[in-house]
Symmetry: C2
Subunit: 319 residues, 2 copies
C-alpha cells in the first residue's frame, strides 16, 4: 500500500542505495539511463520518502518549525507563511507552524522529537527559547541571529519620523495592554524613541490599552493633554483611540494625531481614514526564505541578492 524506496528500487532494477542517491540529487555520477529509470519509477509509484526513515538516518529532519507569535494572524501573516510553505517545499523542506507558548518547555519537547532543520521566528527568541534551541544543536533563526533588518524597530522609527515631518513635537507610543498581544511593542517603541532622539525631541510618552471604547477613553486620559501625536501598535489601537477621541469631541489630527500600522481594511473605514504603515511582505518573506535555504545548505548564498524589506507610509487623514 505504501511505497518504499525498496519498491522503487525493484521497479527500476537497482539497489536502494542508488535510489536514495539519485532521488536526493547526488546522482551525477550515475548513468543517465539509470537516473531516468529511477525517477520514472518513483513517479509511477507515487513514491514519497518517509520522513521518519530519513530523519533517523540523517540525524535531522526536513522540517522547519515556524514559531508564530500570539498576535492577530491576519491576511498579512497568512500570506507570509503561505509563501514560505510553498517556497520551502520546492526545496524539500516542510514548514510547520507552532503557536509560541509562554513556556518554552513544550517547544523543547517538539524540537527534541522532531529534530527540525531549523526553527524560525519573526520575533526575537526569548532567552529560554534560545538556550533550548542551542542545547539541542538546532539552527535557530530570529531577527537577531540572521542579522536581518529589525523590522519592528524600523516601524517605530518610521512612525516617529513621519509624525515629526508633519510638524508634531510631542509624541507617544500606544501599546496593546495585553502583553501577549503586544509582542512587537517594545521594539517599536524603541524605534519611536530613536526618532525623537535624532530630532532632539523629548522622549515619547507611553500608554497601553485594550481595544474597547472605555479603555481607549481611559488611555486618552493618561496622555498629558491634547496636541500629542500617537504612534500606535496597530490600526486597531489607532481605531480605538480615534473612536474615543471623536466621542469626547477631540479633533483628529488637530487635538490628537494618530499613525497606525498594518494598513488594515478596517482602518480605511474610519473618519478620517487612518494614516498608517504598510509592510512589504513579499520582500520580507523573500529574505526570510533565502536565509533559511542558505543556512540549511539548500541554496547558494549568492543566488539571490539580499533585499531590504520595505515599509511604506500610507497617507490618510489622521496626522
Amino acid at each position: 500500500m505504501i511505497t518504499t524506496s525498496e519498491d522503487v528500487a525493484k521497479h527500476a532494477g537497482v539497489s536502494r542505495a542508488t535510489v536514495s542517491q539519485i532521488l536526493n540529487g547526488r546522482g551525477q555520477r550515475f548513468a543517465e539511463a539509470t537516473r531516468d529509470r529511477v525517477n520514472q519509477a518513483a513517479r509511477e509509484l507515487g513514491y514519497e520518502p518517509s520522513s521518519a526513515g530519513r530523519t533517523l538516518a540523517r540525524g535531522s529532519s526536513d522540517f522547519v518549525i515556524a514559531l508564530i507569535p500570539h498576535t492577530t494572524f491576519g491576511p498579512t501573516l497568512q500570506d507570509f507563511f503561505s509563501r514560505m510553505t510553498d517556497e520551502l517545499a520546492t526545496h524539500g523542506l516542510t514548514l510547520v507552524l507552532r503557536l509560541s507558548t509562554p513556556s518554552a518547555a513544550s517547544l523543547g519537547r517538539v524540537i527534541a522529537s522532531m529534530k527540525p532543520a531549523a526553527v524560525f521566528s519573526l520575533t526575537r527568541f526569548t532567552d529560554e527559547e534560545r538556550a533550548l534551541i542551542g542545547s539541542r544543536g538546532v539552527l535557530g533563526l530570529d531577527p537577531d541571529s540572521t542579522g536581518d533588518t529589525d523590522y519592528n524597530h524600523a516601524i517605530g522609527l518610521l512612525q516617529g519620523r513621519t509624525l515629526i515631518a508633519h510638524g508634531h513635537r510631542r509624541l507617544a507610543f500606544a501599546h496593546l495592554a495585553d502583553a501577549r498581544q503586544d509582542p512587537f511593542g517594545a521594539d517599536r517603541e524603541l524605534g519611536l524613541r530613536d526618532a525623537c532622539l535624532e530630532a532632539g525631541l523629548p522622549e515619547p510618552e507611553s500608554i497601553g490599552l485594550d481595544v474597547t471604547p472605555d479603555d481607549a477613553a481611559r488611555a486618552l486620559d493618561e496622555l498629558s493633554g491634547t496636541g500629542i501625536a500617537v504612534a500606535c501598535y496597530n490600526d486597531d489601537v489607532a481605531t480605538a483611540l480615534l473612536s474615543a477621541a471623536t466621542r469626547r469631541g477631540w479633533r483628529v489630527p488637530e487635538d490628537l494625531a494618530l499613525i497606525g500600522m498594518d494598513h488594515t481594511t478596517l482602518g480605511r473605514l474610519t473618519l478620517p481614514p487612518l494614516t498608517t504603515l504598510d509592510f512589504d511582505l513579499e520582500t520580507a518573506a523573500e529574505a526570510a526564505i533565502e536565509r533559511i535555504l542558505t543556512t540549511t545548505g539548500h541554496a547558494d548564498a549568492t543566488q539571490h541578492p539580499q533585499r531590504h524589506a520595505a515599509l511604506r507610509v500610507v497617507p490618510g487623514g489622521s496626522i
Copy 2:
C-alpha cells in the same frame, strides 16, 4: 549529547525494551521498583524520545496536523489552537499547524512523510483532501466525519432566527467577496436559508463585498432597497456595511439591520454597536480535543460527556 533510550536503559540497569514499555504506559507488569528506576533515569537525563524512531517502529507518528483555513486567524482561533496544542501534548500528541492551500498536493506530501496520527480541520475537507487522507490510511477529522455540530450552519441559523425574532422579514446574507476569506460562508448562508424556511419567509438575498468603503457601498446597491436585515459573514463585513450605510444616510437598524459574527473588539466601537454572535470556543475546543483523543485511542470515549458548542447572541444596537 542527545539522550537515547539506550542511555536511559543503562542508567536504570535494564534493557531498552523495558524502558520503552514503561515510558509508554505499558509498564503495569513490571516491578514497581523497576518502573521507578526507569522513570527516574528518564527524568534525570532529560530524555525525550525521538519521534523518528518511534514513527518508524510504529508506522505512524504522534503528530496531529491541524489544517488552518485561509481566514483571519484572530485571538479566537489562536486560543482554540493554543488550547488544543497544550491538551494534546499532555497525551503525547504533538499538534502542528498547516495552512490549508488551494492544492491538496502539498498536503499529500506532508501526510506521506509525517504519517500523522490524525488530520484535523475545523472546516469540511474538500473531496480532494478527503481522498488523499483516505488513501494514506490516515485518520481524518472534520465536522462531517466527527458528526460534530456543524457550527457554521448553526451560526447562519441563529443569525436568521434572531433577526426574525426582532420582526425582520426580508433577509440577506453578506459574504466576503474573496472566496479564500469566506471559507464558512456557504454553510452559514444555508443556515440562514433554513431560518427563513422555517418561518415561512422568502429565500434570503445574497451579496458579497470587500471590506472597503467603496465596495461596501456598491454591495448596498445590490440589495433590493432598504428595510432589509443582513446576516454578515463576520463583524468586519458588518462594520463595512454599517459604515457605508451611515455615509449614505441610511439609519441602522431602521433602514438596514445588521447582525455580525465573532464579537470582535472593533465591532464594539461602531455607532450603533453591532449586534453579533459569540462562539463559545472553550466548549468547541473541548469537543474537538476529545474527538481526537478518543479516535486515536488516547482516551476513553466515555471519559467526558460530549458537550455542545454554545453560540450566544451579543446584544447591540444594529438589529
